[in-house]
Symmetry: C2
Subunit: 423 residues, 2 copies
């Protein structure tokens, strides 16, 4: 199988100032195209370390994708380095130059000399034009160091700006690789379970796992208190692979049916959204401690206005009273983090936003604000409809960001269960 | 300087199912401790590839931190591999065993045999107890392959679950490394600019950059349409380094003063939060197209209830009218994405949530919903107070997620400017 490695270049990755989201996206695309990613490496803007990474990764793969280090400033040394590595000299590419000029014209910004330097490329590369930015991509071929004559390694250098890199990958790089290499089909089938731990699942499906054909691989992917199970297979006979993996996947779904959330690879918010669309219903949210995160998850889905009406993020007592009709006395006697308040929040949201279903949450996410009887990580979640509201207390003992995420996903799962049980 | 590399293990990283946030966090912590991270490598759950990564990274660093691959299931092969690599055999660690038992008792969950396997460790390692989960960490020492006798490489293997890894790093790993190695001070000073491109900035500070002392490094970090500039220096004389970098950083701030947002390394939402706290004022939001993302950014800050009252996420017309008093006629004649509607949203939020300042946004984030006169990426942003509301149209041509992020950060910056100009 054709193997690829990904090299990301930039000091910001090595001091942790930036989280590398490019690599995950690139890995997905390569995988979908039937290319196996065997390694991902990040190095700084340091000449020897980049050079060494190019040498080292050549031993592991036939395709080496490189991102970053192509900016117009002095700390970006990748372009001159690639020029030297592949034995070329820098020349102006007319297409890239026109692209830079067009972009500055469109933005109506003054162009400076430095911007035009972006149009220089090594004369030994194939230029990949950048429709979304000024730095062109570059494609190089080099004989494989240890393979019989004729076989080549493909190196592709792209900017680190995510949407520029993504555009180049989709428009140019993936089509080029698909044409150059004979690529197999890789098929993944993923399901999501909730309410059960990884070890318990492993015991539940132990016999299934041991009896799996060798070409089908099972992986456990824990995430936000849920576990995804993924079957993977690859080969050149697409119909046969699909049939084989489907057989196994059906068995797996049966084995975990009590915990099954969805049998496609999608996040909880999408599962809830699809369920609402299917029933032609809408929902709203009233969020205190999750501070708009549930709303953000739901509205990240294109077309979410079809099933999501809105949210009241009621951080202050005033917002809870004025926008969600929460009783002032209830707040004073029971406290904001209580079954009574979260139930009133749910009712108030349904009244004011007029949706079919509602989620309301109120809790203490930390690090401050904990009380002896309500420690940090405590939250009340209410879900329901005009006919019925049910509330549940949850407790997570993590940091603020993770407590918010876990509370949000748990609340979405509770609404999912409510909808399934009450229709 | 002491060098480290980070190895992350797991197929999920190579098929892009998971974004690696651990590495960035670890790199930050190592950097803070005076350890330079030179490479980060991700490999799959494949025996030869993990083995090879251990060999290869030994050539680059004195410290090798490994995360992932320690789960209780069959695809997790890292523990037996490390056992063989360092020439030991697996034995039960009593501390780790007691920890597993305690965790299951506390969770009140039945424990199965498989869970106890987590307590097995190679007899050649120092065990790092895991206070937050069942898989213990392991620390190994090995002579450096190319160094004079006596020098050792430290390998540390930790679980991939972020909060478990973070706990071990803080409690055990960093203190151990700080004691074992003589570590220098690394100092970064970062500022954030808005409203100016990377090339323009580079021209503006070209003389400054060329005159920088060699031990001080400048980096450009573009992010969400803004650019961060970072100066870095390191050495053993902390007072001198701080003095030198401070001198340069003051100059740099002066040079970019027209575009300066903040002179500390913090996100825009924190800049706005601090400004409000300093003026003892509060704010609220009315979000349509950003769908709660601005609320989420603000409430991700611990203690944000001191300056943030809440939000109305008004996805439907009904929510805009009922919760934000937007005039039905305005919606019909001007459309939801208009100066008039976003101004009414801002006024309605101020009336109903009773804060000092407000941000309101309405736009089309894509991929669907675009109109010839209002293409995907168009948004109206209003910011202001009871005395005055100002509205501005913005346009971003990216995907939904990035349009939402850019609109949110731009809106926060507009409010920041409004507060500075109107007090």
């Amino acid at each position: 199988m054709i193997q690829a490695t990904i090299i990301t270049i930039g000091d910001e990755l090595l001091i942790g100032q930036v989280i590398d989201t490019n690599s995950a996206w690139m890995a997905q695309e390569l995988n979908r195209a039937g290319i196996r990613v065997v390694r991902r490496v990040a190095v700084g803007d340091v000449w020897d370390e980049i050079w060494n990474a190019l040498d080292e990764e050549s031993k592991h793969a036939q395709i080496i994708l490189i991102t970053g280090g192509l900016g117009p400033t002095a700390d970006d040394i990748t372009k001159p380095l690639l020029c030297k590595y592949f034995g070329g000299k820098l020349v102006v590419d007319e297409g890239a130059k026109q692209n830079v000029i067009n972009i500055f014209n469109k933005l109506n910004r003054p162009m400076i000399e430095r911007n035009l330097l972006q149009a220089e490329v090594p004369d030994v590369c194939t230029v990949i034009q950048n429709k979304r930015g000024t730095a062109p991509g570059m494609l190089f071929n080099k004989p494989h160091p240890t393979s019989p004559a004729g076989e080549e390694i493909v190196f592709v250098s792209m900017p680190g700006v995510p949407h520029e890199m993504k555009g180049m990958m989709e428009d140019e790089v993936i089509p080029h690789l698909t044409k150059k290499f004979k690529l197999p089909v890789i098929i993944h089938r993923t399901l999501l379970t909730a309410g059960v731990g990884e070890s318990f699942l492993a015991d539940l499906i132990q016999n299934f796992e041991e009896a799996l054909p060798t070409q089908i691989k099972l992986a456990y992917l824990p995430n936000y208190g849920m576990v995804r199970l993924r079957l993977t297979s690859s080969g050149f006979d697409k119909a046969q692979i699909e049939k084989d993996i489907e057989t196994q996947f059906s068995q797996l779904q049966l084995l975990v049916k009590d915990y099954l959330v969805t049998n496609v690879d999608e996040p909880m918010e999408k599962v809830v959204g699809k369920l609402l669309l299917q029933k032609n219903k809408t929902m709203c949210t009233a969020e205190s401690c999750t501070g708009g995160y549930i709303a953000h998850l739901l509205t990240s889905i294109p077309g979410s206005s079809e099933f999501y009406d809105g949210s009241v993020v009621s951080y202050s007592y005033g917002a809870k009273e004025d926008l969600l009709n929460v009783n002032h006395q209830t707040l004073l006697t029971k406290g904001a983090v209580s079954e009574e308040v979260v139930t009133e929040m749910a009712k108030g949201a349904l009244q004011n936003i007029k949706s079919n279903y509602v989620i309301a949450v109120s809790g203490i996410m930390g690090p401050g604000g904990g009380l002896p009887e309500k420690p940090v990580g405590t939250a009340w979640i209410a879900v329901g409809s005009k006919e019925k509201i049910v509330a549940q207390k949850v407790f997570f003992r993590f940091d603020r960001a993770r407590n918010i995420q876990l509370t949000a996903v748990t609340a979405l799962n509770l609404l999912r269960q409510f909808i399934l049980q009450n229709t």
